[in-house]
């Protein structure tokens, strides 16, 4: 099944590693910041590294807010890309950045006591049962995380992880999916998740 896969060029991201991971699965991938091109895709990826305010500034400068908000095809936000999908982030100057509001939710700085931040490395993820995005992935499978902010578990949480506190490892609202970890850097488990997403 030849799918049209577009990675949104957020201008600040780990785009190559996401593109390579999809190519390893046999997909043909386009990186674009053109609204018409993004809208025409079968599947859309929203990658991101860095800070929420810088990423939102880049998305706004490219005029992509309404384009992304209007997408109806399956769309996967990765790491910061997931955080941009909720309504607001406490990261940024003054502790506030308005995000894309593809689902309600707030991104907050992790409160982990004596543990180190960023939360960096491989940690175990527990998906909800019968969740398509995690088909074939057992509870307790390791994924690779790098972040200091998170969304606490709530009604849109698909999977959880724990690092000093429970937090959302994955989110969903209708066609919008987000993962806090990096599937493109999570070995076989990450490849399985990307393949599941491509099959939606």
């Amino acid at each position: 099944m030849a799918q049209d896969i577009v990675i949104v060029n957020t201008g600040c991201a780990n785009i190559s590693s996401v593109r390579f991971a999809l190519q390893r699965l046999g997909a043909t991938v386009t990186v674009s910041d053109q609204p018409a091109r993004i809208q025409a895709a079968d599947k859309v990826f929203l990658p991101g590294v860095g800070s929420a305010n810088a990423a939102m500034a880049s998305i706004s400068a490219k005029g992509l807010n309404t384009c992304i908000q209007a997408l109806t095809q399956p769309t996967l936000g990765i790491c910061l890309g997931m955080q941009l999908m909720v309504s607001e982030s406490m990261e940024g100057p003054g502790g506030h950045t308005t995000c894309l509001n593809l689902m309600p939710g707030v991104v907050e700085r992790m409160q982990v006591g004596d543990l180190r931040l960023p939360h960096m490395g491989w940690n175990t993820v527990v998906p909800k049962e019968h969740e398509t995005l995690f088909r074939g992935i057992d509870a307790g499978t390791y994924f690779y995380f790098v972040h200091s902010f998170c969304v606490t578990p709530y009604q849109h949480t698909l999977a959880t992880c724990d690092y000093g506190m429970p937090f959302s490892a994955a989110l969903r609202n209708d066609n919008f999916f987000g993962v806090q970890f990096h599937p493109e850097r999570s070995g076989d488990a990450g490849a399985q998740l990307l393949e599941n997403f491509m099959r939606l």
Partner: protein, 257 residues
């Protein structure tokens, strides 16, 4: 539970992987991509590539191998060596590296750490520190230009002070290379790592001294480091990664399998 990381380090020189003893006498170990692929398949949690010539001989080094690695590797990797500017770092991250590590250039220009943090985010910014214990003075001192013995020099920084400075400037992770132990496989410098751990609120990676599986258990349980980096024991097949991880799990250490 967050797993402790096992991190093979590949020293790269002119596009091939090399390894010396105490930073000298480099011998060729093999091609970069097949070695990287092998370690990923064997269960390495992350890879570090140090371009060891880059900082010391003032040239811009061909980094096209970074994207060749990114194409085939599905675990995170970090590139170190010769990253002197935000532009240098940006190119390497664009090629698909997950993190960049700065060492000598950060000592020459500490503002570089802040600039990297502000541009790419804290999670991308690793600071490598080459720390040498001077028996005469009893002090741990930071060295620079360690890729080239003729240019290696001691800096005015005591290791503990530099560790605090780089965190204030935005480092997201610290790799502490204990030079006295490098390549001699007699164990990590537990005492030094314990002391630095108390000062380090970001992930801390131990480097230098791994010789047997017990050394990994010791550094995780006694110095509470987030990851253990090693080179020669993996390159020379003294320790196999699957066996090491299985054994560490048996020791009750949180390890990804």
């Amino acid at each position: 539970m967050l797993a402790r990381r096992i991190i093979p380090c590949l020293d790269v020189r002119d596009g091939v992987v090399v390894k010396g003893v105490k930073f000298r006498n480099h011998e060729i170990v093999g091609d970069i991509v097949p070695l990287a692929e092998r370690y990923a398949q064997e269960g390495a949690d992350e890879l570090v590539f140090y371009d060891i010539t880059a900082s010391s001989d003032q040239r811009t080094v061909d980094k096209s191998w970074v994207s060749r690695i990114a194409e085939v590797i599905d675990i995170p990797f970090c590139v170190a060596g010769g990253i002197k500017t935000v532009e240098d770092a940006g190119k390497i991250l664009e090629m698909g590296a997950d993190k960049i590590s700065v060492n000598s250039p950060a000592l020459l220009n500490p503002r570089l750490i802040t600039e990297l943090h502000d541009t790419f985010g804290q999670q991308c910014v690793v600071v490598g520190i080459d720390s040498f214990f001077d028996e005469k003075t009893g002090a741990y001192q930071v060295h620079q230009f360690t890729g080239d013995e003729a240019r290696t020099q001691v800096t005015s920084w005591q290791t503990a002070d530099w560790v605090q400075e780089v965190q204030q400037r935005g480092a997201g992770e610290i790799v502490l290379n204990c030079m006295n132990q490098d390549g001699v496989r007699s164990g990590y410098d537990i005492v030094q790592l314990q002391n630095i751990r108390k000062l380090c609120q970001v992930p801390l990676i131990a480097s230098g001294g791994a010789g047997e599986m017990q050394h990994f258990a010791d550094v995780f349980t006694q110095a509470d480091v987030d990851g253990a980096l090693a080179a020669s024991v993996f390159h020379k097949a003294v320790i196999a990664i699957p066996e090491l991880k299985h054994w560490l799990l048996g020791q009750g250490i949180s390890i990804r399998q």
